[in-house]
Symmetry: C2
Subunit: 151 residues, 2 copies
DNA sequence: GTTAATTATATCGTTCACGATGCAAATATA
DNA sequence: TATATTTGCATCGTGAACGATATAATTAAC
């Protein structure tokens, strides 16, 4: 009874579990360099474009600044990046990679490939991934707007 | 440069974000009854089959007991469930719904529908959802085994 | 039937997420 | 140019996740 409450019918539980398990797959690879998965995400944002204010990083990751700020402080303590007050706008904190932060890109060069191949399976192949990306992107865009206007 | 590190090419970031955003969509609906999303998951497990040991609940959710135990204690404190020592095996803690816990199912009856329709979009429809489920299930099964054997 | 290994749960410490709130700098308005 | 509003970031508290470790009960090995 109550088919709609069955765990096996829940999209969210699948996303939640798949997300956790992939993050776990990253763990041994990143842990070697003292990184967590969210920290790895910050690195990817800064490798794409260095010297960004906290807000831009948070927006890119669809996170709140109160999540990102402590994360950045820990990374600063590790010597991966610096946080300096913006010059034209003193409210901003400009986040910049250190040499160590930039060099991590070379050290982690095998990570995307390793995790990518760990995920490949019967229904998830180079041919089907674009379709999966499209569905996840649609869900994300749908909820991104929705969660703001609804509550 | 370094296309492989681009955030837009990452499956994990999409899963992580989609998971977070759907959980956020649940938040106002569950918050009305003082529930979090992981607590809602526990309820679904127990609605399916009441009176389970901690371990069975954890296994069903693919979580560790050190995550589930504090979660259950909070729910016990809320009067949603009880935790009693197993009779045949004194190591087990049998988790049982209270009247309040069972009644929550009626109160939350509109939640699955509400979240379901919030997620529907161009590429995610009743026709495409089974395919999405299949891909996520395959990923989960792949990693479930992998994460155990690899590290 | 002791001792050793295993199992079920709990405790601890660290790192997210995130709502709520605070504060200072910048911008808009009067 | 005062005052009000908005913006960017930080702080605080709570609830997960999860690795590491501990403890007690059960089972296996001898």
């Amino acid at each position: 009874m109550e088919e709609k409450f069955r765990l096996d019918n829940q999209l969210c539980f699948r996303l939640y579990t798949a997300s956790r398990l992939i993050t776990q797959a990253y763990h041994p690879l990143l842990g070697e360099y003292g990184l967590t998965y969210p920290q790895y995400l910050v690195l990817m944002v800064l490798w794409e474009k260095d010297a960004q204010p906290v807000n831009d990083i948070a927006k890119r990751l669809l996170l709140e600044t109160n999540t990102v700020t402590p994360l950045l402080k820990r990374m600063e303590a590790e010597g991966i990046l610096t946080r300096t007050k913006g010059e034209k706008d003193a409210r901003q904190m400009i986040v910049k990679l250190t040499k160590k932060g930039r060099e991590l890109q070379n050290k982690l060069t095998d990570v995307p490939e390793a995790v990518g191949s760990a995920v490949l399976c019967e229904s998830v192949t180079p041919e089907t991934v674009p379709g999966l990306f499209k569905m996840l992107d649609d869900i994300i865009n749908q909820l991104k707007d929705n969660n703001k206007t609804t509550d």
